[in-house]
């Protein structure tokens, strides 16, 4: 029932816009407004990605032990190295495991906090809204360093715990990082879901209340279905973020013996480019980008199909 309501509403909005567009009398104005985006998109997105793809198709040739390198076209040979690279695929598995556990926890918390902020029962909303969001304002590297201190076996203020359970050991370091990522991004995702909650017209709640629904029931049967698009959006962002994990493992690498130079796919790209082997690094990046696209698409398709039912 709720889905049909949204689609008619959106459809109505669309209908009012359409007649104004039809004559296409504002071609210049449209071009004027689209151009800045188009130029920036081409310069800072399409071009670098295209350059990376081109770099990934090259191989190096040289003569002698110190001969200067010449790039020649090598077809897909870098990609065969990517697919034969064991540590890279182990790192992909690692971030997938990370994502399967961390993303639902983070978004579950974000949704819970958003619903609490939206509930009429909670006091001090402004304070909590800011408090939950503050960690996102802390740069990722700083957050990782700070948590690194908290996890430290000898220097942590919680030495009683960290001295006994080594949170930086091979078994736990991934989850120690998951905690950092969750801490940073819960507030950000909460805000997206919360703003989507604010957009729900109050008549819907009134109707629900007239039907005898309590706050919990409204949250479960009205609010959550209505903010599903926002949850899907944050999930896609989180999937992308998980696959691109770099700052946290990079920082943790300096103080955990369990974090190697190929701990996450992006760290592998970074290590490869500092060899410097730009071509192989580019091939890794392209494969990673494609994997991200595929996963995001798969998730969108999956949720869409569910939406139809």
């Amino acid at each position: 029932m709720t889905t049909t309501e949204i689609s008619t509403r959106a459809g109505a909005a669309r209908a009012t816009i359409r007649p104004r567009r039809r004559p296409l009398a504002h071609k210049k104005a449209i071009a004027f407004f689209v151009l800045p985006f188009g130029v920036l998109f081409a310069l800072f997105y399409a071009l670098p990605v295209g350059y990376a793809v081109w770099q990934s198709l090259l191989v190096v040739q040289r003569v002698g032990t110190f001969g200067p390198a010449h790039d020649v076209f090598g077809g897909l040979s870098q990609y065969s190295q990517v697919f034969a690279n064991g540590p890279f695929w182990t790192s992909v598995e690692r971030v997938l495991l990370f994502g399967v556990v961390q993303v639902p926890i983070m978004l579950g918390l974000a949704l819970l906090f958003a619903l609490l902020l939206d509930s009429p029962l909670l006091r001090g909303k402004k304070f909590f809204r800011l408090a939950f969001f503050v960690p996102y304002a802390v740069p990722g590297v700083v957050a990782a360093i700070m948590w690194g201190f908290l996890y430290s076996p000898a220097l942590s203020p919680f030495k009683a715990v960290t001295g006994r359970v080594d949170l930086l050991s091979a078994d736990l370091v991934l989850w120690a990082m998951a905690n950092v990522v969750t801490w940073v991004y819960v507030g950000y995702n909460m805000l997206i879901i919360y703003s989507s909650l604010l957009a729900i017209p109050t008549e819907v709640y009134e109707a629900a209340r007239l039907d005898g629904a309590g706050q919990v029931r409204i949250a479960w049967s009205v609010k959550i279905p209505l903010v599903m698009p926002a949850i899907v959006l944050t999930t896609v962002f989180s999937i992308i973020g998980t696959l691109q994990l770099l700052a946290e493992p990079q920082v943790f690498r300096s103080f955990s013996s369990a974090v190697t130079s190929t701990f996450t796919p992006n760290l592998t790209v970074y290590s490869t480019s500092s060899v410097p082997d730009f071509h192989l690094a580019a091939a890794f990046s392209v494969v990673l980008a494609l994997a991200t696209f595929v996963l995001s698409f798969a998730f969108l398709k999956f949720t869409q199909r569910k939406g139809v039912q």
Binding site: A46, T65, F66, F255, V259, S261, V275, L300
Partner: protein
């Protein structure tokens, strides 16, 4: 509705991306040949070393703390050769990566600080200007400790790819107070060192911390043992990470790790400083610049330390290793090679600059005259007033000139460190780490089309 729109826009976005990529791939095959030919012509032009006319502005990227004051002195005395300093993180901490990117983009600075172990990497990426044509640089050869000159010339007569700046001869830093109090003689051989490790462990401390992620220290230990990780016969490279000397050093430390006689806190962390500051770790086999690391990292132990020569593999020997040391190199593409070389020479040979560099950053000069600077003769309060630089001056003369670095050291360090980390966590051994790094290094050289045996 919402959803479908988003899916469409994502699809469009990716289609645009793929199309533009294809377009780029189509048009740039011609561009690369043009780039290659211009590269060779630039190479031919830069071998000259002639003075420029008029005022020259140079850029210099380095991470030596306090170097601005030194460069100010130069700028005041040389109004026609003005040097602008850019600072960054230490080499492997990001500056090398920047250099490689800048070289690829064609906007590298005129001069850059490059450690000896990274020089071959920059040379193989065609990033360095051969200063062999600069007669003033070649004339300065005899001013430098011979092994440092070997590091920057790769042992090739008539060529030099940087001016040696400082050296990192190694010695043994130890807690004199703790050794004296517990009646433990200072170890002079590695056997004694291992025996002391047992005694110190029984007292609740660790003799030292094994550096799990800074492989450079381990390389210095192999250097002392007479090993060399690479060699280059002019037609191809050989990788010798598992040479008998290297294996001996690996097995020695693996034994201490397995018996839990050394701590293995990640180096250069607060945790690591804390281990020294609280007296939990008693010694550190380190380079001359390590004097600064201890005094800043373990301020509570002031006056308790002393410096002795490195433990030896055989009693009565006097061999030292080297850990670190930098050169000042002129990058390919600099338009003022003569002026850049002149500045690099002043920075690294003049008493004035060397004294300032030593005061500001504890740099230990690579010149033979530099070792006799008055600043280096004084006792250091942190080390109980000991004239510690005398120990390092002697060590500097005991460093083997034949250690050769490979052309992909960043990769070697990263891979070996991954293996060392596993070893200190109880998975595999140091030798396993070296064996797998040997293989990955050969693979990396091959992927870079660098001729390699094996």
């Amino acid at each position: 509705m919402h959803l479908r729109n988003r899916a469409v826009s994502v699809a469009l976005l990716s289609a645009v991306t793929l199309l533009s990529a294809a377009a780029l791939a189509g048009c740039s095959s011609s561009a690369s040949t043009a780039g290659a030919s211009s590269g060779t012509s630039a190479g031919a032009a830069s071998s000259a070393c002639a003075p420029s006319t008029g005022k020259v502005n140079l850029t210099f990227t380095t991470w030596v703390p306090g170097i601005q004051a030194v460069v100010d002195v130069w700028n005041k005395a040389n109004p026609n050769i003005q040097v602008t300093v850019q600072t960054g993180p230490n080499g492997n901490g990001g500056t090398y990566q920047n250099f490689f990117n800048q070289l690829k983009a064609g906007n590298a600075p005129d001069l850059g600080q490059i450690e000896y172990d990274a020089l071959p990497n920059f040379r193989v990426q065609d990033g360095l200007t051969d200063l062999g044509a600069c007669s003033e640089v070649m004339a300065a050869k005899s001013d430098f400790v011979n092994w440092t000159w070997n590091q920057v010339s790769f042992g090739e007569a008539g060529h030099v790819y940087g001016v040696p700046q400082d050296a990192g001869p190694m010695a043994l830093f130890y807690r004199k107070d703790l050794f004296t109090k517990n009646n433990i003689p200072v170890p002079t051989t590695w056997d004694e060192y291992a025996a002391d490790a047992v005694k110190i462990r029984a007292l609740g401390g660790y003799i030292t911390n094994f550096s799990q992620s800074d492989v450079n220290q381990f390389a210095g230990l192999v250097w002392q043992a007479g090993g060399s990780w690479f060699s280059n016969d002019g037609t191809s490279w050989s990788v010798n990470l598992t040479s008998p000397e290297s294996t001996k050093v690996a097995n020695y430390w693996q034994d201490l790790i397995s018996k839990k006689l050394v701590s293995s806190v990640p180096p250069w962390t607060s945790e690591w400083n804390n281990a020294y500051n609280t007296g939990s770790d008693w010694t550190w086999v380190s380079a001359v610049w390590g004097a600064n690391s201890i005094s800043s990292g373990a301020p509570d132990t002031s006056g308790d330390w002393a410096v002795a020569p490195m433990p030896q593999w055989q009693a009565g020997q006097a061999v030292a290793g080297d850990w670190g040391g930098s050169s000042t190199a002129v990058f390919k593409g600099s338009k003022h090679v003569y002026e850049a070389a002149k500045f690099a020479l002043w920075l690294n040979t003049s008493d004035e600059a060397l004294t300032m560099l030593n005061k500001a950053a504890n740099l230990y000069p690579a010149t033979t005259a530099g070792a006799k600077l008055p600043a280096l003769a004084a006792g250091v309060p942190f080390y109980g007033g000991q004239a510690i630089y005398d120990v390092f001056a002697k060590a500097s003369g005991e460093v083997s000139p034949s250690f050769t670095w490979g052309p992909t050291m960043t990769q070697v360090y990263a891979d070996a460190s991954d293996g060392f980390k596993a070893a200190v966590s109880g998975k595999g051994t140091l030798l396993d780490a070296l064996t797998s790094t040997q293989a990955s290094t050969i693979a990396t050289l091959k992927s870079q089309a660098i001729p390699v045996k094996g």
